[in-house]
Symmetry: C2
DNA sequence: CGTCATGTTGAGCGTCATCAACAGGAGTGG
DNA sequence: CCACTCCTGTTGATGACGCTCAACATGACG
């Protein structure tokens, strides 16, 4: 559960005994293979899932067979937290890699949030951040041409991974484990697999990214960011806030 | 302020004296013309804006001059509520029509939320709903062809307006005031103005929508919904929750 | 009456989707 | 160990969807 708690602590100040409380209310743990649904459209979860390990995505599937990935998530998130408020899921949450998930009963979590307002606060802020990322994805999908769209996604992933120590940096070079297929990328960027393939080759040709089946390298983050029109502003909420006097009390 | 408070009450149960409390902490009111920024990218608001009247949008502007609208909002919302957590705005909030806005100091609102947890809860849920809408917009932008994209947007707007009594319904016909230009639609759907124009003409030709400069009519919501692949699931959070025994206590 | 914003139409072209085929690696079972 | 299949990546050919540029129509407004 450490990934989870550490992540919450990056967002808000939590009382020191919250660790034990949270670990105490975990009811079970489950392992998933890649490309499986953790929660499906229409489900009415009675527990909140906590992602302990792996990459997952939110996605919707259309009548025409197309699948749109609307968000990527890494270890530490509670992807179906909204089920606390909205009984039925309006989208699928699926694994991209194999993944490990812990479950917390709604009742226990509600109770804990009631007695620890900072916890509710942290979750709310988490929701705010995710909304900000979704907005940027809208921009990506609606306003950027193919190559920049993919480049932008790489910038976002690299930045988010690095923030949690899951990417290696050497100067302006960043590299990280890469578990996604081009088909995943196609679903996330609203492009066809073929076009994703050609766009990646173009980016490779320009020396902007290096990509193998298991590793991604961005030789120069600044250059890729410039090309993609990447501005990390929208990820700022993920940084530990500088606490203003007003904000603290 | 009634639109605002009524809207919050649709989302969560609030104590009866909250009306006076909220009205008491409004510090000022301002009127905007159409197509002006209420808050701009980079701003650090000290007040939360409450939209009392008019249509507004969230949007980002890219280096290539393109503008992507990422959300539409109607009267009753607090569009820059996130400034409570994230000091700097990561996008613009702009009027689409003329609009009237009230301002509440961050300090007062924080204080009130501290003493009335239901209020914080309502705002959090509002954030959850907005995130759900953003996801559906991602799907729209990434996975639907032009005509269905526009049709879907009309379905969403009609549904949201009707929920607050701002649309007229006769059987399966819905109509409502229409203040947007085709250029606004282009920014919201990621299409060129010309293509928006032609798509609308196609929808008109199929009898799916009727559109004049000031009024929109959907002759048959079900038919348009079927054409667009519209499923109102994702707007469910906006409905008054049915309170489960568990949820209440 | 001129100006401006908005809507409309035509022509040409580019981006990207679709369809199809094939190559390589990983895993499976005989 | 080899044959087989499946998944992923790659490439080519073709055409559709949607963009750009340009011109013009219309109504609102001063």
């Amino acid at each position: 559960m450490n990934v989870f708690i550490d992540r919450l602590r990056m967002i808000a100040d939590l009382p020191s005994d919250i660790d034990r409380e949270l670990e105490g209310i975990v009811s079970s743990t489950k392992t998933f293979a890649a490309n499986q649904d953790i929660v499906s459209h229409g489900d009415r979860p009675s527990h909140v899932a906590v992602l302990l390990e792996g990459w997952i995505c939110r996605n919707k599937i259309l009548a025409n067979g197309k699948r749109q990935v609307t968000a990527l998530h890494f270890a530490g998130v509670t992807p179906d937290l909204q089920s606390l408020f909205v009984p039925a899921m309006d989208h699928n949450i699926s694994t991209l890699t194999s993944a490990r998930v812990a479950y917390i009963p709604h009742t226990s979590l509600r109770e804990l949030m009631g007695s620890v307002p900072e916890l509710a606060h942290a979750f709310w802020q988490e929701t705010v951040l995710e909304a900000a990322i979704a907005r940027e994805w809208e921009v990506n999908l609606g306003a950027r041409p193919a190559e920049q769209r993919i480049a932008h996604l790489f910038c976002e992933i690299a930045t988010r991974l690095e923030r949690f120590g899951w990417a290696e940096r050497n100067g302006s070079t960043v590299s990280f484990a890469w578990p996604l297929t081009q088909s995943h990328l196609a679903d996330a960027t609203g492009m066809s697999v073929v076009h994703v393939n050609r766009s990646i080759q173009a980016l490779r040709g320009d020396g902007l990214i290096e990509l193998t089946r298991e590793k991604a390298t961005i030789p120069d983050m600044d250059e890729l960011g410039r090309f993609a029109g990447f501005n990390a502003d929208y990820l700022l909420a993920e940084r530990p806030r500088q606490q203003s006097a007003e904000g603290r009390q």
